[in-house]
Structure formats: C-alpha cells, structure tokens
C-alpha cells in the first residue's frame, strides 16, 4: 500500500533528526514493517522517494538485516534463541515444543497469519536462558511447557499489545537481572515497540 500523508509526515519528521537523509532509512523501514508486517514493495518505493536513493538500494539495505521481514509475518512473531547460552540450556526443546504447537518450521508463517516462528541468534538474555521473544518483547527462563502455554495464550486470548513484563509474569522464569517495577510498555505490531517519533501504540 502507498503511504498516506500522515505517515509521510511522520517519515519526514524522522528524516529531520539526521544530518543526512539516508540515515533515516532504518527507522523508515520499521514504519513500513509496523504498517504492513513486512517490507512490501510499495513501501520500498515510498522510502526510496523520501530519501532519494533507488528502490534496489533500499531493498539491499533492508534485506541485510534480519528484523526487516521480506515476507508477510503473522500477528505474533515468535523468536527463539539458539545461541550458546540458550543452546546449552535446552533451547532445542523449547523450539521443538513451539514447532509442535504451531506446526511451523523455521521462518514459516501459519495459514491464518497468527504465528511466524523463527530460530534466532543471541537476543541478549543469556542470563535467563533459554529465552524467547514475541514481537521483540523478551521472555526469559522459558521451559518447553511454558512455551506451550505462551503459544496457547496468544492463540486464544489474541492480545492486542504485547508487553514483555506481562509475558514474563505469566510465562517466564529466571531473569537475566532484576527488571525493576512493572512496565506496561510494549508493541502492537511485529515491529519492535520503539519508534523515535511517536510510539507504535499511537498508530
């Protein structure tokens, strides 16, 4: 879909933050992802116009980074870490149980677009290994059973906003460190719940 004027205004505000337009490419790709669930061709065209580079240059950059999705993703992107600390703390079993529940292989999305499942490299939660992210909100101290419960919860409750602290409360275990007072911030898309200008919830 092409971008409406509101989105373009937001994009231009982001561009303003940087000494050179091209620097805004990353944040603009997140805008696209937030809106479409992936980096669609139309957004690439819009972005290329906004920052004055060619479409394939935008694609080249977008495809370099694993968080910019090249394919549409489900409502919940479940990322399970398989790097060393998680690997030796049984992340395989967590992976297996999620695969079993969702019926998905690595990097697949289910037919009703609920889940996208991926195995990922270290997400910086090694102290709470094995760890999982749902739409880039971290849950630490996972077990295969809790992973199943988490999936079930997502499938049945279909929460609109994903909040790390809530998921951790419900499904998490050992944490990498004390997370401080409960924090209600989160995300309502498969883009990380962070935008330089305007949070994702506003949109």
């Amino acid at each position: 879909m092409t971008w409406d004027s509101k989105l373009i205004d937001r994009a231009n505000q982001i561009i303003e933050l940087y000494p050179q337009k091209r620097s805004a490419l990353g944040p603009l790709l997140y805008l696209a992802q937030e809106k479409e669930g992936y980096i669609d061709d139309d957004s690439v065209v819009e972005i290329s116009k906004l920052i004055g580079i060619t479409e394939v240059q935008v694609r080249s950059v977008a495809s370099f980074y694993t968080m910019y999705k090249q394919e549409p993703s489900g409502k919940y992107l479940i990322s399970v870490c398989k790097s060393i600390s998680c690997e030796i703390n049984n992340s395989r079993e967590v992976i297996e149980s999620i695969k079993e529940f969702t019926g998905l292989a690595n990097n697949e999305t289910d037919v009703d677009n609920t889940f996208t499942f991926e195995e990922v490299e270290c997400i910086g939660a090694c102290g709470g290994a094995p760890a999982v992210q749902v739409n880039y909100e971290t849950v630490e101290g996972m077990t295969p059973t809790k992973a199943l419960e988490l999936c079930k919860y997502l499938k049945e409750e279909v929460p609109k906003v994903i909040v790390a602290d809530h998921l951790q409360d419900k499904f998490g275990g050992t944490k990498s460190f004390d997370w401080a007072i409960e924090d209600n911030s989160g995300t309502s898309s498969t883009a990380p719940g962070f935008q330089i200008i305007g949070t994702s919830e506003e949109n």
Binding site: D41, V44, I53, T54, E55, V56, Q57, V58, R59, S60, S63, F64, Y65
Partner: protein
C-alpha cells in the same frame, strides 16, 4: 608530482609513487598479484581477498590485501611466501565451493579470470562435499543483460560500477552473508545506458549480454582495435569477429578518452552489419521499384544525368559516419562539380545532417578543451544538448570530475539528465523557454563565484534547433573573459569534427531547405544520412528530395531518405573500412578493418573516386592509405602527423591535431512554437539500431516529459497518455520532470511515431482512456 619512494618486493628494491596502491605498483614492475574485486577504474573494496600479500609490520609479518594497501617508504612485501600462496589457494577454494563450474556452457570460459587463476593458483580438487548454493539459472535483469547468480563471486564490480561510475545503482547486493546475491528491484530493471560495462568487467560469467550469449568461444575470435563512431567522444574499442561476423565490441582502456567504458549504444549497435535488410547491390529506381545495376552503369548514369540536366545544382547532405579520408574526397568532388559554378566561398554545397550544428567557438581566441581538462577544472559549465543521451562517455567523465571536486553548472531545459549531478542548475529564472539567457552572467552570483579567476571548461552547443547563438555568445564571452577557459563545441554526432576539418565549408539542414530552388535543376547526394527521419526539417527535406531531379544515396539501408533516391550506392561500415576519425578534442584516431566488405558494397570514397574518374577528373587513390597520406600533408608542420603508420603504433596511437580553419555557416531559425522541444535520445530508430535486433527494442519507448504544473494544464493525472497532432495520435508514457519550466514539453525526435510530428505546429496531450492502452512500452 609526488616523489618516488623505495619499497621492496620479494627481495627486490622497487620504486613507486607515495600512496600508490601496492597491486598497481607491483604490476608496473611486472609482478602480477592475482585479484578479482580490484579494478583500476573502481574504488578498491578489498573484498575478495585474492590479492593478499605479506608485509612486514612492527609486530611481525601480516597479511594485507595489496589492492587497498598504499605504498609507504621502505615497505617490505612478500608476494610469494608460503603463507601467501596458502592463503590464495584457500581463497580460490572458497570461491569455487559454490561456483557451478559449468565452464563448458559458460560464455566466459577461455577468458575467465576465475578459470585462469584456478589453473595458476588453485587447489587441485575440491574437498567440498556438500550441496552448492542454488539460484534460478540466468534471469534477465534488463532487455539486454542476463544474470546468473550461481556463477557470481560477489566481487561487487558491477554494483560499484553502477553506483560510482554511471550513477544508476539499479543492481545491488541483496541479503547478506552466504545468502548474498546480486539483483535488481522487481519492477526496476537494470536499465542503464552503461550496463554493458558490467558484463565486460564481471570476472566470471555471471553477467552476460543477450547479444553475445553462446555466440563464440574466445579462442575463435579475431580481434582488432578501433574507434567507436557513435558519438564524437571517439571511444577506443576492440572489435571481435569470428567467421567474418562481428560478434562483440569491447571497450579498451584509453586513458585520454573512454578509460575503458562504453555506452551500450556503442557496445551493442553492430548487429545491423549482418542484417538481411542491408543493401548489398547497387540499386537503381525505375518506376517505383529498385533494381540491381553494375558500378559502371551507375557511374555512367550519374555522368549522363549531370549532362542531361545541363548545369544542375549539385548538393551534398552528409552524415557523421564517414572517415576523415572520405570527407576529404567528398570535399574534392564537391569542389570539382561546382568549380565553374560557385566562385565565392559562402556558396558551398555541402550540408551536414545535424539539426544542432552551430557555428561553434573556434579560432585563436578560444582554447580548445581536451577531455583530460575536465579532471583539472574547478568548474565545468554545460549548455548544450543533453550530454547523457548524446555524448554518454563525456557524461561519465563529467561525473567523475564532479566526484573529485569540480563544480558543475548546467544551463537550459534539455539537459536534465545531468541536473542531478549539478551544483547549480540554471533553469527558468535564468534561461527562457526560448532558450535565451534572461540574466546577465555577471549578475548571477552562483555563476560568478565559481567562474571568476577559476579554471573552467565549458561544453557548449545548441540545446535545441531553436536556440539562437546570441545567448551562447553572451555566456561564452563572459566565461572567456573572466575565467581560464577551455571550450568544447558540442557536436555530438560521430565524426562531425572530421567533417569540419576536411570540408572547406559546412552548412546545415535549415540552409539546405532555404537554399533549395525548386525551379532549378537539382541533383542531391545523401551520404550516410537519413534527414527525412528525426530532423526538425524532415518534412521540408522530404519535399525537396521529391522535387529533385536526381537523388543519389550512399547508404547501408533503404530508409526514409534513401527510398526517395534514384540510385542507392551501398556502402561499408564499422570494421569494414579503414580510416581515421577526429573526436571532440580534435584527436585523430584510427578505425580498423577486420571484416570484408559484404556483397558488392564499396566504401564511400571508392564510389566518389569512380564518379570523379568517369567525369574525367583523373584521381588515382588506390586505397585509404594513399588518401591519408595526401590528407596528412596539410599537417606536416605539426609535431604529430596522423598518418596510418604512426596511429597504429600503440605508443603513439592518438595524435592531437591542431585545427585548420573551420567554416560553419548556420543561420538562426526564425521564431516558432516553443512549447514542444524535440530532442535526440541515445536510442532511437536510426537504420542501424532498428536493424540490430539485440538493441532495437531500446528505441521503442515513447515518452514525453513535462513538469507537474504543465501536466495539470493538460489535465493529465496518469502516467500514460496520447500525443495528438492533426491526424497523428501516439500512445505515450508521461514522465514528470520538475527540472522543466512551465509550458514546455519534451519529446524524442528519433523515436517511432514521432517522425510525422512537426514541432512548429500545435499539439495536444490527453490521458489514455482504456486500460489496454496503458500497456505501452
């Protein structure tokens, strides 16, 4: 000049300039270091790691890529140590593990750096037992280029070329790591005027051109150096033939001109040589059809016609693809035929078939520029026809100069392709829709600041047939007065400068039409030119040719012009004839012969010499060398005389000739409709391109350009429309170009459908109505 410093390679002391790259400095001393990603004309990236060598550092020996390492005083280098050899073998093995090794079906085999280096440095056999990376076999990434991603070794030469050199980054690395591939964006093919260069510099067979695919093996090729005649830059090329067929043209790295690059037009415009449409016999028109006749019958016929018509006006319209030797003979015959007729000089009878011919800035008060002057210019000023379309390699040279810090100032409304590079683009506030300079140059601050007291090169010429010389004069005089100025006269077509050098006086097509006396008896020679197509004056010329008593066309094809001829004398073309050409710097360069003249074709000079002889003027040039010797005579006072002999010596390949007097006689056009500008595009419907199947479709795209305000005036919102004039309606793409001033529409003069459009008449543009119509090229 930086001073030489000493460094040591493999125990031998060598010298190099400080800061020179190790790989280059070694090469100069005969030490070859293998490489893939490094290319002398591209910024080094040090990615393939093939060129690793050992250097001594305070912390012991270290492996460094020689393509990114600059020579420093007393650097100690080992290019052959065990560690180096092992590393290089390792790199090759890595490159080969995912390479398909489909050499038997690969175009590159036989001239493939990967293949060669595997022989020279590679491991014996593969230890890789896993499955190779797979991609869909060749995918077309443009109309003329194919990409085989499996063969790609990710050296980034093509992506760097298109980003750094040509400035149209339409191919890029996609994905990362082991999944990295080169590709285009789905709806944006690799449409670049320069795309063929990537095929030439690809070190494997990943990029191939549709025109050469599966045609030949390098070891079967016959090769000769020559000079491209597509525009007046005069790029150095290598012609590759096999079994008397031209199969490929490559760019040669000539430091002075093209530095290795070619436009796709220059590279791929050759299939016409073997087109079945080519005229291979002398044709004479009887009633409405042509029939074969012999050369003696043809010359007799000409002689008889001249006699019969009793002192007719004999006029010549010339194209730009003749050699200097041929222009010289044309000048002779024209003088001979008119020797009793015209006593004064300004009544010459030679017209040059280029709408944009103007009087130029020649003579002692102007210093003629060379291409290398661009590199040292502080400021480059352009007010001429569109450089990218008409002098594509000049565009690259300007781009390079700008990249290295020259300021670029562009005037006018037709040169918008270069506007993206310009520091200052002087559009409507400075140049009117009638192409007049509205403001005084010395009142334009941005101009003043970058001109006065600076080293400046100007590229000047007519942007459009309407443009009056007055405005150009104003600018050039200002520049000449205030700056250290060098001047390029932008005559972009092929060997225009050769024509100017060798013909006493040249006039334009406007003059031809004005001087044509329908009441008189007229004989017209057209030589390698098709003015009935793609000229502002097409309609008038057509009428005049029809009204002529006898028309003789020397040409390759039956086209809009030659079909009006009474006699067609089929000629030779690139690679089929020998001679010299003169480029826009007045540099004389050699064209060489590698193919036999097909059928009963002859070179232009051969016909003209025969005619002279039949007419009783005894001229006796037996071959091009003899003409060249005669022609070179006039330069004998110069240091370098461009004889075939010395032009063929590589060390002295390119002499620069001082101009002799150049006489161009052009009169300004009277005021006209200024809302439609018809400009020449690189690709069009020239008879050569239309008969070159591998690129003929590139000239099919019909489009107009206008700004959004003008589009609104015509009520256009979509990207497709109809261009309407009288009974003509052309389906067109509409491109919005905000560099254009209001009320100006630009259309290609050399594209199918536009030949019947008269720019001086009213026209209209409407939106295309039904969806099917939207499916235009």
């Amino acid at each position: 000049m930086t001073e030489n410093i000493k460094f040591t390679v493999n125990g031998n002391e060598l010298e190099a300039k400080s800061g020179e790259l190790l790989i280059e400095a070694c090469e100069k001393s005969g030490i070859h270091i293998p490489r893939f990603c490094w290319h002398k004309r591209l910024d080094p990236v040090g990615m393939c790691r093939m060129c690793l060598v050992e250097v001594e550092t305070p912390r012991g020996k270290a492996l460094v890529p020689s393509c990114t390492t600059e020579i420093t005083e007393d650097l100690v280098v080992d290019t052959e140590s065990a560690v180096v050899t092992k590393a290089q073998e390792g790199i090759l093995e890595f490159l080969l593990i995912n390479h398909p090794l489909d050499c038997p079906v690969c175009d590159k085999a036989g001239e493939c750096p990967l293949q060669d280096q595997t022989m020279a440095y590679g491991p014996g056999e593969s230890r890789f037992v896993e499955e190779k990376r797979h991609f869909e076999k060749p995918i077309p990434i443009s109309e003329i280029i194919l990409l085989d991603r499996e063969r790609c070794i990710l050296c980034a030469r093509c992506t760097r070329f298109s980003d750094e050199i040509s400035g149209d980054p339409l191919i890029e690395f996609i994905q990362r790591g082991n999944k990295t591939e080169v590709n285009t964006f789905p709806d944006e093919p690799f449409r670049s005027y320069f795309s063929g260069n990537t095929v030439q510099i690809c070190p494997v067979g990943a990029l191939t051109s549709t025109s050469y695919r599966f045609k030949a093996r390098p070891w079967d090729l016959k090769k000769v150096s020559s000079t491209c005649n597509c525009c007046s830059v005069g790029c150095s090329i290598e012609l590759n033939t096999s079994q008397n067929k031209m199969l490929r043209i490559l760019g040669e790295d000539n430091e002075f001109t093209n530095q290795g690059w070619l436009s796709d037009k220059g590279r791929y415009n050759f299939d016409y040589l073997h087109s079945e449409n080519r005229v291979l016999n002398i044709l004479s028109k009887e009633e409405d059809s042509f029939s074969k006749i012999s050369i003696s019958d043809a010359t007799e016929m000409i002689k008889n016609k001249i006699a019969e018509l009793d002192n007719p006006n004999i006029k010549f319209i010339l194209g730009s693809s003749s050699t200097n030797e041929e222009y010289f003979v044309i000048n002779e015959i024209a003088n001979y035929l008119n020797k009793d007729k015209f006593l004064s000089k300004d009544s010459s009878n030679i017209y040059f078939g280029d709408d944009l011919l103007f009087e130029g800035y020649f003579g002692d008060q102007y210093s003629q520029a060379k291409l290398e002057d661009l590199d040292s210019s502080e400021t480059i000023v352009v007010w001429a026809e569109d450089i990218k379309d008409n002098l594509p390699i000049l565009y690259l040279r300007i781009k390079k100069a700008v990249k290295n810090g020259s300021k670029l100032i562009v005037f006018g409304h037709t040169n918008t392709a270069i506007a993206g590079l310009a520091d200052f683009y002087f559009g409507k506030d400075i140049v009117s829709n009638k192409f007049e300079l509205i403001r005084n140059p010395n009142e334009i601050e941005d101009l003043k600041n970058n001109i006065e007291g600076k080293k400046v090169t100007v590229i000047t010429g007519k942007s459009t047939v309407f443009q009056k010389k007055e405005s150009l004069d104003k600018l050039i005089n200002y520049l000449n007065e205030k700056a250290e100025l060098k001047v390029f006269n932008s005559f972009s077509k092929g060997n225009t400068f050769g024509a100017l050098q060798n013909i006493d006086e040249v006039k334009g097509l406007n003059e031809f039409c004005n001087e044509f006396d329908t009441n008189a008896k007229n004989i017209v020679f057209t030589i390698g030119v098709n003015p009935v197509n793609s000229s502002y004056f097409s309609q008038k010329i057509k009428e005049n040719l029809i009204a002529s008593d006898f028309v003789i066309s020397l040409d390759l094809f039956v086209n809009e012009t030659t079909e009006l001829a009474d006699l067609i004398l089929p000629t030779t073309s690139l690679g089929e004839k020998e001679g010299t050409v003169t480029n826009m710097e007045m540099r004389v360069m050699k064209q060489n012969k590698i193919l036999p003249a097909p059928g009963s074709t002859l070179s232009e000079w051969e016909y003209l010499v025969s005619i002279l002889n039949v007419l009783g003027e005894n001229v006796n040039y037996k071959n091009e060398i003899e003409i060249n010797n005669y022609l070179s005579e006039q330069y004998k006072n110069q240091e370098k005389v461009p004889t075939f002999d010395n032009l063929n010596k590589p060390s002295n390949l390119f002499g620069v000739l001082n101009k002799k007097d150049i006489n161009i006689n052009i009169k300004d056009l009277k005021e006209d409709n200024f809302s439609l500008l018809m400009v020449r595009r690189l690709y069009g419907d020239s008879s050569t391109q239309i008969n070159s199947p591998s690129i003929s479709m590139l000239g099919a795209h019909k489009f107009i350009e206008l700004n959004s305000t003008t589009a609104k005036k015509y009520g256009i919102n979509s990207k497709v429309g109809n261009f309407i004039q009288g009974p003509n309606s052309i389906l067109i793409n509409i491109e919005i170009n905000e560099y254009l001033p209001d009320d100006l529409v630009i259309a290609p003069i050399n594209r199918r459908g536009f030949e019947d459009i008269d720019p001086s008449l009213d026209f209209n543009i409407t939106e295309a109505k039904n969806r099917e119509e939207l499916n235009v090229n």
